[in-house]
C-alpha cells in the first residue's frame, strides 16, 4: 500500500465518525425526501434538488475542507516528520477528505431516490448526472479549500477567503455576467459568454444539469447559446472536461505550495 492510501484509510475512519458529515448526509436525505413528497412531481423535485445542490455542495466542501486542513495542522506536521513525502501526504489528505464528503452527499440524495424507485424511471439519467455533478463539485471545492488553506496562514482569514470564494463562484459571478450582458447588450455576446461560463465550475455543473433536463430554454440566453453552439452531447463532454480541469488546476497549485511551505 502506498503512503497516500494509508493516509486515506485512517482519515476516512476519522471523518466518518464526525458529526458534521452525518448531518450533511441527513440534510440531503431530508431535503430530497421532502422535495419528492411535496415538490409536485419527480421532474420538478429533481430540478429543485439540483439548484440547491449547486449552492450547498460547494459551500460545505470549501468550508469544511479548509477547516479540516487548518485543524489538522499539527498532526500534518507530525506526519511530515515521518518518512513520508509531501506530495503523497497532500494527496492522501485531499482524497481522504473529498471522498467522505462526496459519499455523504451521494448517500443523502441516493437513499430517497432508491427507495422511491426513481432510478427505475425515465429520471435515471438526470439523477445520475446530479450525482456526478455533486461529486465533481465536491472534489473541486475541497481542492480550492486546500489551496486556500496552504496559502493563507491564519485560520480565520483562510475561512473568510473560502467563504468569499464560494460567494463569488456561486452568486456574484452570475450577477457580474448578467450585468456585463446588460451593459454590452448591443454587441454580439455569444462567444464571450461561453468563455465566461467555462471559467466558472458552478456554471459548468449547471450547464451539465440543464442539458440533461432538456430545460436549456429555461436557462435563458447563455444556456440556449450553449446548446446551440455545442449541441447536447458535445456540451456535456465539454462541461465534464471543464469540471475536471477545475479539480486538477487548484490541486496542482496546492501541491506546489505545500511542497514549498514552511511549517
Amino acid at each position: 500500500m502506498t503512503a497516500t492510501r494509508k493516509i486515506i484509510v485512517y482519515e476516512l475512519r476519522d471523518i466518518v465518525r464526525s458529526r458534521w458529515i452525518l448531518f450533511y448526509a441527513l440534510f440531503f436525505l431530508v431535503i430530497t425526501e421532502g422535495l419528492f413528497r411535496f415538490g409536485g412531481g419527480s421532474a420538478n423535485a429533481l430540478v429543485s434538488l439540483s439548484s440547491l445542490a449547486l449552492v450547498i455542495v460547494p459551500l460545505i466542501s470549501i468550508v469544511f475542507g479548509a477547516m479540516y486542513l487548518y485543524d489538522a495542522r499539527s498532526f500534518t506536521e507530525l506526519l511530515l516528520t515521518q518518512p513520508v513525502g509531501r506530495v503523497a501526504l497532500f494527496k492522501g489528505l485531499y482524497i481522504g477528505l473529498a471522498l467522505p464528503i462526496a459519499m455523504s452527499f451521494l448517500l443523502g440524495i441516493g437513499i430517497p431516490l432508491v427507495f422511491r424507485g426513481i432510478l427505475a424511471t425515465a429520471h435515471l439519467e438526470t439523477a445520475l448526472v446530479l450525482a456526478v455533478s455533486g461529486t465533481l463539485l465536491t472534489f473541486i471545492f475541497v481542492a480550492l479549500a486546500f489551496l486556500v488553506a496552504v496559502t493563507v496562514e491564519q485560520k480565520v482569514r483562510g475561512l473568510s477567503v473560502s467563504i468569499l470564494l464560494w460567494l463569488l463562484l456561486t452568486v456574484l459571478y452570475d450577477g457580474l455576467v448578467l450585468a456585463l450582458a446588460a451593459f454590452f447588450a448591443d454587441y454580439p455576446l455569444e462567444r464571450p459568454m461561453l468563455v465566461l461560463m467555462l471559467l466558472n465550475p458552478v456554471d459548468l455543473a449547471r450547464v451539465l444539469l440543464l442539458l440533461t433536463f432538456d430545460l436549456s430554454a429555461l436557462m435563458g440566453y447563455t444556456g440556449a447559446v450553449f446548446e446551440q453552439f455545442f449541441g447536447t452531447l458535445a456540451g456535456k463532454a465539454i462541461s465534464i472536461a471543464g469540471l475536471m480541469s477545475w479539480i486538477v488546476i487548484p490541486l496542482v497549485a496546492g501541491i506546489r505550495r505545500f511542497k514549498k511551505k514552511d511549517f
Binding site: 506536521e77 516528520t81 518518512p83
Partner: protein
C-alpha cells in the same frame, strides 16, 4: 551525527537563523536553549525537514539533506503540543504511524506500560486530557527505536509521575547510545538530563559545549544564572 554549516533562514527581512554552525554529537543529550525568538524551533524544524532554509547545509550521518525523506526513518519527534485527528483512538494513531513506516517487526511500546495508557488508548483522542495526549505523543516518538530523538518541551503538561517516567526513559536511551535533542524552559530538568547545552541568540550559536563548562566559565553555580550571565554580558558588549 548532525553537522550544520552556515544555516540561514529568512522570513522576509528577518534572519531567524543567521549563519548557524553546530555539531550534534552521537550518544549525548543536547539541550537547545535561548530566549524566545532565538531560533530554537526553527532550527529543529530545519533538521526535521518541516522548514526550508535558504543557505547552508545540514548533513545527517555524513549525507546532506536534500529534500528526500528516508533519513526520517531514524528520527523520532515529540512536538510541543500534540494534536491528533479527533475521532481516532490512540491505538489507531499508533497503528497509522506503524503502517506509514511499513509495519516494522519490532516496535518499542514500553512507554505505554510506563504511563499505564492501556485503556486510554481505546478512547477517541478528543475525549482525552492534554496530558494524556502528550503521553501518546511521547509513545509515538520512541515507538520506532530511533537513533535520534527530538523532544520539544517534552515534560510540559505531564504530571510529576509521568514526567519522571519520561526522564528515566531519556536517560535509558542515552545509555543505549541514542542521540537526544531537547528544548525546555525548566533549568533543573536540563541540568538533570543534558550532557551538552547549545545556547542560541539571534539565530546564531552563542555557546555550545558540556553543561559543566557553562558553569565553570561563568563562575556561576546554577545553569540558569550562568546563562543569564552570558546574555547580560552580551548586551554589555554591544554599545547602546
Amino acid at each position: 551525527m548532525i553537522e550544520i554549516r552556515g544555516l540561514v533562514k529568512r522570513f522576509g527581512p528577518l534572519r531567524v537563523l543567521d549563519g548557524l554552525n553546530l555539531d550534534l554529537v552521537r550518544g549525548k543529550v543536547t539541550a537547545i536553549l535561548g530566549p524566545n525568538a532565538s531560533g530554537k524551533t526553527t532550527l529543529i524544524k530545519c533538521i526535521l525537514g518541516l522548514t526550508h532554509f535558504q543557505e547552508g547545509t545540514i548533513s545527517f550521518d555524513g549525507r546532506l539533506l536534500d529534500g528526500t525523506h528516508t533519513y526520517r526513518r531514524k528520527i523520532g519527534y515529540m512536538p510541543q503540543v500534540a494534536r491528533f485527528p479527533d475521532h481516532l483512538r490512540g491505538r489507531e494513531i499508533i497503528a497509522m504511524l506503524k503502517d506509514l513506516r511499513g509495519r516494522p517487526e519490532s516496535t518499542d511500546e514500553r512507554l505505554v506500560e510506563a504511563f499505564q495508557l492501556g485503556s486510554e488508548l481505546d478512547k477517541p483522542v478528543d475525549t482525552l486530557s492534554g496530558g494524556t495526549r502528550q503521553k501518546i505523543s511521547a509513545v509515538l516518538a520512541f515507538l520506532f527505536d530511533p537513533v535520534m530523538l527530538f523532544l520539544d518541551e517534552p515534560t510540559a503538561g505531564l504530571d510529576p509521575v509521568a514526567s519522571s517516567m519520561l526522564k528515566d526513559r531519556i536517560l535509558q536511551d542515552r545509555a543505549a547510545g541514542k542521540t537526544i535533542i531537547l528544548t525546555s524552559h525548566i533549568m533543573s530538568e536540563i541540568e538533570e538530563l543534558a550532557d551538552n547545552v547549545v545556547f542560541l541568540l539571534s539565530g546564531r550559536v552563542r555557546f555550545a559545549g558540556p553543561s559543566d563548562e557553562v558553569k565553570s566559565t561563568t563562575g556561576q553555580d546554577g545553569l540558569e544564572r550562568a546563562l543569564a550571565q552570558i546574555m547580560t554580558r552580551d548586551s554589555n558588549e554591544i554599545p547602546a
